[in-house]
Amino acid sequence: MEYIARRVLYTLFVLWAVASILFLMFRLMPGDPRAAFIDNTFTAEQQQLLLVQFGLDQPLYVQYGKYMVNLVQGDLGMSFIYKRPVVEMVMEVLPNSLVLTLTSLIIAYAFGMVAGAFLARMRGTWVEGVTIPVVLATRAAPEFWLGMVFLAIFSFSLGWFPAGGASSAGITYDSFWQQLVSPDYWRHLALPVITLTLYLQGLPLLLMRSNMLEVMEDEFVTMARMKGLSEWSIVMRHAARNALLPVATAFALGVGFSISGNVVIETVFSWPGIGRLLVTAVSSSDYPLAQGAFLFITVVFVVANLIADMLYAVLDPRVSHGSAG
């Protein structure tokens, strides 16, 4: 209990630190943050009015105080360009990112665990010799490049999938759930998911494989063998269960890492997610929007890390909670 409380406190500390760093970075950006927003044709009074509106006329520490208070209340300000609340804009695209990430992760981990266990059984054969370098190569390939190659082949050349976006022209949805069950949505989702899955499956596969190899040498497996249990029973009921532990932790970590790595995948496929929102906001100097998108990604990232830590502590009773710093 004390361990969990400390982990939560530490997560809040990291979030506070990141929010503060972001505040400083966006205030100290080269050039005036207003430059992107204020038109040259504005009169001096109009400019001053806008400064007051965004609170940019006050000293830095007052701005910081307000920023923190607003943050705690869940107010991330208004987008410079769209003149809409940042939270609303982020909430609009966040589900798309989560659908993309979770679908890919689940497929990647399901495949990776089975393939990893299989490869552990194939140890020392030519199958292993061929497969391992190929798996490593999928991890070495830049995600966005895989996406580009797939786009060129499956979308532009073969025409099997749409080239980008989340819905065909003219299609609108009344609710997120309606969108989620629409075949059109899934047709757009397919290629990004395939790309991300291919990139993600390497880690659970290699983890599962090395865990299985390690576990299969453990004493309790020898014990099970001596009891005369079948090989199937040994692998599935005894070994796999123990080998799963680090994979489960990696999955939770994977949610955070994928959300943060999604900026490139979402850009390649013009997928309207939070990563693409961040990139377009940064390119167009829309600082409140960029700041908000970044903070949301950080929250998902840090909370996923927290869950991974707790999962590990719950699943593995050997982890000592007393001395962990």
Binding site: M25, L136, V149, S260, V263, S283, A293, F301
Partner: protein, 304 residues
């Protein structure tokens, strides 16, 4: 996490130079066939980077014309242009050659910076302990809590796109990984007899840290260095692809961004966007192989 690296530390206190010498022999892992393959790939790419001026057939950014004074746009691969030309008439092969130089420069610079900062922090934090250790490790926590690529995007926009800013961004986010592991290694090394012996003979703190303890964490530093090279090259490529990369250098990431933005995908110009990706895979894969070699030296129990 703390791996016992040294097995024969007895003579280390008497002959500190010997300790460095012994460690330097472990700098290149040559016992593992994969690691050797990785080193060979690196050697080829390093040679290409060094002799880029001789190997390239054209200026990578020059807009070329055919013999009949027409713009040499989107030419297929041939004897004049080994990999063809881009849609504005630039030689792809020459871009690939110069891109090797850009990518390796960023990769090695970032790896050197990450390892230098990580090793220094690990040594100081682990050896001094107390509030210094506390502050440094909380900084590490913060850096590890920041989503990597989004932060590099924001930072690159903040600092203006340039090669050194990409290196800087990678350094301030990646040092904690090596720093933490090296710290825990220092914690175990400093309890050993030869360090005690050095203290007794009146060696200064700096002497103990850099002459007696540092050699023992060197292989770990190189392990993290070999990981960082690949990370840096991948990150540079991603950042360039998103349009925040260095504008003053041709890199593989720049080529991919250029191809993507110029509709090379819909036109099926595979000769344009496939080669840079293959180069990135080869370099990063070579890094994985070399890393594996280090792990076998450091953690022999993992050998399987």
């Amino acid at each position: 996490m703390a791996a016992q690296v040294d097995t024969s530390p007895a003579g280390a206190a008497a002959k500190p130079r010997a300790a460095w010498h012994r460690r330097l022999k472990q700098v290149l892992p040559t016992s593992d066939p994969f690691a050797v393959a990785g080193i060979l790939i690196y050697v080829v790419f390093i040679l290409v980077a060094i002799f880029a001026d001789q190997l390239a057939t054209h200026d990578p950014m020059e807009i070329l014309f055919t013999d009949t004074y027409k713009l040499a746009r989107s030419l297929p691969p041939g004897p004049d242009h080994l990999l063809g030309t881009t849609n504005v008439g630039r030689d792809i092969y020459s871009q690939l050659i110069y891109g090797t130089r850009g990518a390796l420069l960023i990769g090695f610079a970032a790896a050197a910076a990450v390892v230098a900062v990580g090793t220094l922090v690990g040594l100081v934090s682990g050896y001094l302990g107390g509030w210094v250790d506390n502050v440094l490790m909380r900084l590490a926590d913060i850096a590890l809590g920041i989503p990597f690529l989004p932060f590099v995007v924001v930072l690159a926009a903040f600092l203006r796109p340039s090669m050194w800013n990409v290196v800087f961004a990678i350094t301030i986010l990646l040092w904690p990984n090596s720093g933490r592991v090296i710290r825990s290694q220092v914690l175990s090394v400093r309890e050993r007899a030869f360090v005690e012996a050095a203290v007794v003979t009146g060696a200064s703190k700096a002497q103990i840290l850099f002459v007696h303890i540092a050699p023992n964490v060197l292989p770990l530093s190189f392990l993290y260095g070999s990981i960082a090279v690949g990370w840096a090259i991948l990150t540079e490529a991603s950042i360039s692809f998103l349009g925040f990369g260095p504008s003053d250098t041709v890199t593989w990431g720049y080529m991919l961004q250029d191809a993507y933005a110029s509709q090379a995908l819909s036109r099926g110009h595979y000769n344009w966007f496939v080669p840079p990706g293959v180069c990135i895979i080869l370099v990063v894969l070579a890094g994985f192989f070399i890393t594996r070699g280090y792990e076998e030296i450091l953690f022999p129990k993992l050998r399987r």
